[in-house]
Amino acid sequence: MTNASWEALSNQAVAASGVVYFLALLAHLVQWAALRKLPADEVVTTGRTAMAGRLGVLLTVIAVGVHAVALAARGMAADPNRVPWGNMYEFTLAGTFFVGLLYLLFLRRFALEWMGPLVVAFILTLLMVAVIWLHEEVAPLTEALYSYWLIIHVVSAVIATGAFTLGGIASVLYLLKERSTAERGYLARLPDLLSLDRISYRMHAFGFPVWTFAVLITGPIWAHQAWSSYWNWDPKEVWAFITWVVYAAYLHARATAGWKGRNAAIVALVGLATLWFNFIGINFFSSTSQHSYAAPVIADQQHPPEVSL
């Protein structure tokens, strides 16, 4: 296959996975629409409603599989072949893939079926953002990105992002359920507040060391190799640090009287906001970031005497 046909395959696979995610969302919506009518404590394991739920999960599995194909083909389309995370479009593609993958991996272990509709809706929304606003043709990377640290650093950052996102979804639901008095419907059927808090904590407790590894170990090592300085406070680094500190605060909040539960969930969501802002937002905000994947920079206009490569 030629590079162009790999690229076309990737684009088609993105579209196809979008369609399948959409079908999964529909299946989950059918499931939850039916569940609304039943008392919250009635467990449904057979019949159409349960089928719709299982179909939703099955479709999500297929969609994540096709999503993987899209990523792999993207990497194959580049010359030389590389990992498919070299610009914003590719990051978003990879980030949403890991959200989906982690959801499926944790599905059994933490009984996450109830998260299905939200996870799928989240992925679908970001995929649309990626396709509509962020799409770029496959292109060679700037020199600094050709490093095995690209693989290690970005994979760990993206996995942590996936885990934090799942944790954040649980925290949002915690806050909603806390204020809800409904006896039926989606919120009523969620796990109780204690369990939501615990699931959210588990996700964050998994994500935090991974994020620490990405941001405070591999990031500085790579920055040192490429730009000669471990930590330069460039905007991307600043925001990665902010995210780290906010999540450390979250872990504390969960163990501090008066901050448990509600406030901790809010801190977790602040963390998630900083995380996604850094992932997508900062690139549009700041032109001084050395992490400029978006623009084809060779000579950095900001630093004439120390032109970056």
């Binding site: 292109a139 600094a144 060391p209 170990i217 500190v245 909040a253 163990a255 901050w259 970056s308």
Partner: protein, 468 residues
């Protein structure tokens, strides 16, 4: 992973504490210390630290982007003095940012020291014995079996050990306790935050970082006088410079001519010949991005490149007043570059040149510009000045306050537009300028960061602590 149930070991019981108003000095001191080292304070300080870090990503920072900072100052004359006072251009060295993290570190020390002591004592103490009456425990279960008590106890102890409990077998009971590894991990994590900071501080105090532009074919030896810019740590001593030297033998770049990134340069390779000491053997190294050269504990990085047109200026008497490769600094990714020549000893009048170099000259919208970074159609375009050219100032800036621009007969500015090999006579018998050729330069960054292994050990410890 960690045990999901939090235990509030750091936060103290606040209800039991009297208010500060009715305390004597000693009690007040204790009260304050308790506040500072409480988990709630740590939490608030962490959130404050996150908040305080934000401005540095919005306002350009002097250390990160000095040009951006000076542009920002020019654009906001009213805000600048206020921002200046607040330290907005160097947030991460500012007193208020430092205050937050220093408080956090004090709080951290104040909380890990007592926790370590408690931990140490608990580790040496036996797990508490089983209560006589099981139903006093909040979680309990009853089961009757025909096995002998000895068997049951042995099996229970074995099972608990398998699950990594610390087990004490009593006469007719088994008791066990768990969670030590988690608390140890927690302590290690908090301790490692300090280790990382110590590592960074050592790097900042004893290390240095410097940059130098070296023209292809020329050399550098590691001596303070040879650096273009040099930022030492406050405890750095000149004799810490390792006595190496190198020559840039060759420099190659690949220019992409097609595809969505056409115009981008790649695969920079600078071939160095270096000596670790003046007497050691000469070795070669291909210096590339992501592949610094390590000499002893110093590292050498390739961080930039550009063109140095070779320019010769003859004065009114026909003598050579200036000659050599002249570093022009790129202003954008097409490598359109800006540079200056100062012929301070030219007779009868000093000569200053200032202008642009275009590696691939083209006219875009009627303006001269470069359309590509490689040398396809190089052109040098310079304005000429005469008067006091002030050679003492930066070699990249021509101070024009005591000069006069050289004009054509029709009153328009005189401009030298030159191809390689051209010589052009200046008006008024000032002399002539020759564009002899083009060389390349590399920007080399050299740094030494002692303490980096300590910092690395710290972060790795932190990670292990988190996983514990």
């Amino acid at each position: 992973m960690s045990n999901p149930e939090p235990k509030d070991t750091g936060g103290r019981d606040r209800q039991a504490t009297p208010m500060p108003t009715d305390m004597n000095a000693r009690e007040l001191g204790r009260w304050m210390w308790r506040q500072v080292t409480s988990m709630r304070t740590a939490l608030v300080l962490l959130l404050l630290l996150a908040l305080a870090a934000i401005p540095g990503s919005i306002v350009p920072q002097e250390d990160v982007d000095s040009l951006g900072a000076s542009r920002w100052r020019d654009a906001h004359p009213k805000l600048t003095p206020i921002y200046e006072k607040l330290g907005m251009f160097s947030v991460y060295d500012s007193p208020w940012f430092s205050a937050i993290y220093i408080l956090l570190m004090i709080s951290l020390v104040g909380c890990i020291v007592p926790r370590t002591a408690v931990y140490w004592r608990a580790l040496r103490a036996k797990p508490p014995g089983a209560p006589r009456n099981l139903s006093r425990l909040p979680e309990h279960a009853t089961h009757t079996t025909a096995d002998t008590p000895g068997d049951v106890l042995a099996r229970a102890a074995a099972e608990l050990r398998k699950r990594r409990y610390r087990v004490v077998v009593g006469e007719d009971s088994v008791s066990a306790e768990k969670g030590y590894l988690r608390e140890a991990g927690n302590l290690v994590f908090h301790l490692s935050v300090l280790v990382v900071l110590v590592g960074f501080a050592i790097g900042g105090l004893y290390g240095y970082k410097g940059g130098v532009i070296v023209i292809e074919g020329k050399g550098f030896s590691n001596d303070l006088t040879q650096y273009d810019d040099f930022v030492p740590g406050s405890l750095f001593k000149g004799e810490d410079l390792e006595p190496f030297s190198f020559t840039v033998k060759d420099f190659e770049v690949d220019w992409l001519t097609e595809g969505p990134r056409a115009g981008m340069a790649r695969k920079f390779v600078s071939t160095l010949e270096y000596q670790e000491t003046p007497t050691s053997e000469v070795k070669t190294y291909d210096l590339k991005v992501n592949h610094p050269l390590t000499i002893g504990s110093t590292e050498v990085f390739l961080i930039g490149h550009g063109y140095a047109p070779v320019i010769t200026v003859r004065d009114g008497n026909g003598d050579v007043a200036y000659s050599g490769p002249t570093v022009f600094l790129p202003v954008d990714q097409t490598f359109a570059s800006f540079g200056v020549v100062k012929a301070g000893f030219a007779e009868p009048a000093q000569i200053g040149l200032e202008g642009d170099f275009y590696p691939t000259f083209a006219l875009g919208d009627g303006l001269p510009r470069s359309s590509f970074g490689d040398l396809i159609n190089p052109l040098l375009s310079l304005s000429v000045f005469t008067g006091e050219v002030n050679t003492g100032e930066s070699i990249y800036v021509l101070d024009k306050s005591d000069t006069e621009q050289v004009m054509k007969a029709d009153g328009k500015p005189f401009r030298l537009d030159m191809r390689e090999g051209d010589t052009i006579e200046l008006p008024d018998g000032l002399g002539s300028v020759t564009f002899d050729g083009i060389e390349r330069w590399n920007k080399i960054q050299i740094s030494r960061t002692p303490g980096k292994l300590i910092a690395l050990t710290g972060v790795v410890m932190a990670l292990l602590g988190l996983l514990g």
